[in-house]
Symmetry: C2
Subunit: 374 residues, 2 copies
């Protein structure tokens, strides 16, 4: 399996693995795919340490880094003189307190103001640039930008370093805007994907994006966790696939055990696109958290990004810890971003086995198509 | 391209065309695919006339009939002694009057009580059975049941006549239930499809259904309007594809001209899953009709099926007529069922050209996959 993107990045198989877990990134890269580390969880210093860890394990094989640069953020996040926590309205704080009490989790520790500022501002263009500077000091093969078009400084710095820039999109219009802004590779992500996602399905979106941005290569994302799905994505015209959810139930994944158990038991009906974790629509496991924010009468409705992210992360850290102790209310509330493929994930495997199984089933799917078409 | 379903039904290419238009059914069947006539719009006598018309044109080539049998209907529809129109609350009638006045369409003619009863009851098991009896007098090769599991009488009559039964599903659970009820062929329909549809995308749904019901053959539906999308569906494990939206902009289609123009101009973001036309979630072009029912403050919310169908059809016939005269309010309101592929539909072609283009692009997509996989 050789596509243009395999040649360009020097990989055996055009399978991109998005993960917040360095172990998954290294395992997929070492298995012949291309690991991409989600950098949002890290400060610049932490990211530096993670990338050094990966560098030491992949023997020069290529991997990438993904930052989150939303096109629009809550204006308060741009005011460097103010503290982000000060912009969270009282009724949102009260609702979180009410939820934690109702589900028996106890009062949430408010995140410390300085930590919140640093974390919240990481999802702004300025914040992302700090992470990119760190990333470019390592031997990375790709920088990806989720949500907004890559900021001009990001493209310029990546170009200078000879590193291609990828951008995630959910519409044809955004794909064209990303290419105009300098993206070298487009990830067309369908609504079935986990995390921030649009409304158009992978089946419909990918061919339209491929035609609109040609000859820029396109990876398909959303709904891809098996070799048949990868073959389908390539039949749609994609040059490769970008998978996220499938790694969350691997042995290496950082997924909290209580969430992993919920993922393994879930069906494809158990996800929801909700603004309750970040302020923007993000597909995640449906739980009491999403139900309460999206449908309960007391809900003040989610804030914008990054304020809702601060509200949710502060509470969710506490909830996840309580869920690990088996507290039933916390188990009801706990969730995480995941796509509709969660219904296919029913066993825990090492990440490299996921790669091998995907490659092998991909071959079978292509053989079947050859046979059928005579 | 020969799959098991091609052998069983005696067709050249496993492309199923769902249409309410006999011209499309005959054209696709004559081009080597398999036309399926949606029977819901017809009384038993009308259906008889339509099928006779098709029989005279397809020279014995196979085609099918689709009836709508919801698993659950509003109980009032089952009471044969009452008039259905009597169950429509005053505030729903008032809201329709308000909408038509607001958009300058004038008062809607209320459908005649007897017509409404006949139409509304066609979507019950008893109503569907009447249509099936007519269909089985013709040389049909397939009976399809949308929404609910096929009623036992339907399966028994079709079996006796040697006609396979197909069933549309949106979840794995429903697929298993349909097979248990006697379905010979499953149509796994993703959320991106037009008309009544679930929440799971085609990319995610199809492989799960294929695995769950094997060796029963599965057709993929939703998001398929080109050869690349057909190749993708087959890569997912489908035995063929079931397309609906792509015929709506053909020369033969019965689509009202004002709606056809809106379809040709629409993007894939312009559809919505709404209960405002039938009482069940159905994907359709977003218009002032769906916006008003789903989001306006005055909206009483849609009724169940079939009552909302009566409310909507009565008004929509009037709206479509006014839209044809170019009345701007009516053009804002008018819509029709269509899938997210509407964004790909930008020219009017004869239905047989759609078939030829699909077959030809399918071949190219398989060739590309062969080349890439070496």
């Amino acid at each position: 399996m050789r596509t243009a993107i395999c040649e360009r990045l020097g990989i055996e198989f055009p399978l991109f693995a998005f993960s917040h877990c360095r172990d998954v990134v290294a395992a997929v890269t070492n298995a012949g795919g291309f690991g991409v580390l989600g950098a949002i969880a890290y400060s610049p210093d932490q990211l530096d340490a993670e990338l050094t860890w990966i560098d030491e394990r992949v023997g020069g094989r290529p991997y990438g880094v993904d930052v989150l640069v939303p096109g629009k953020v809550d204006a308060s996040a741009l005011d460097q003189r103010a503290h982000l926590m000060d912009f969270i309205p009282g009724r949102h704080r009260d609702f979180v307190t009410h939820l934690l009490s109702k589900y028996g989790v106890g009062a949430a520790a408010q995140p410390m103001t300085a930590v919140a500022d640093e974390f919240g501002r990481r999802v702004t263009a300025a914040g992302a640039t700090g992470l990119i500077d760190v990333a470019l000091k390592h031997r990375i093969g790709l920088i990806a930008s989720a949500l907004g078009p890559p900021p001009p400084e990001m493209v310029a710095r990546a170009r200078k370093a000879g590193v291609p820039v990828a951008a995630l999109v959910g519409t044809v219009e955004h794909a064209c805007r990303q290419v105009a802004a300098g993206a070298d590779l487009i990830v067309a992500q369908g609504t079935e994907a986990g995390g921030h996602t649009g409304e158009i399905s992978t089946m419909v979106l990918v061919p339209q994006v491929v035609d609109a941005v040609a000859p820029v290569p396109v990876l398909a994302a959303g709904g891809i966790a098996s070799g048949r799905q990868m073959a389908a994505a390539m039949a749609l015209g994609a040059d490769g696939v970008w998978c996220g959810s499938v790694w969350l139930t691997t042995e290496e994944a950082e997924t909290p055990p209580a969430v992993k158990r919920k993922f393994l038991a879930a069906s494809s009906l158990d996800t929801v696109r909700s603004r309750s974790r970040t302020g923007k629509p993000a597909r995640q496991l449906r739980s009491a958290w999403t139900d309460e924010w999206d449908s309960s009468q007391e809900s003040p409705g989610p804030l914008g990004m990054p304020l809702q992210l601060l509200v949710a992360e502060g509470a969710m850290a506490r909830i996840a810890a309580a869920a690990e102790k088996g507290e039933p209310g916390a188990v009801d509330l706990v969730n995480y971003y995941v796509g509709q493929v969660v219904g296919q994930l029913d066993q825990v495997k090492p990440a490299r086995h996921v790669v091998y199984d995907l490659v092998s089933e991909f071959g079978e799917a292509v053989e079947r198509l050859k046979r059928l078409s005579g």
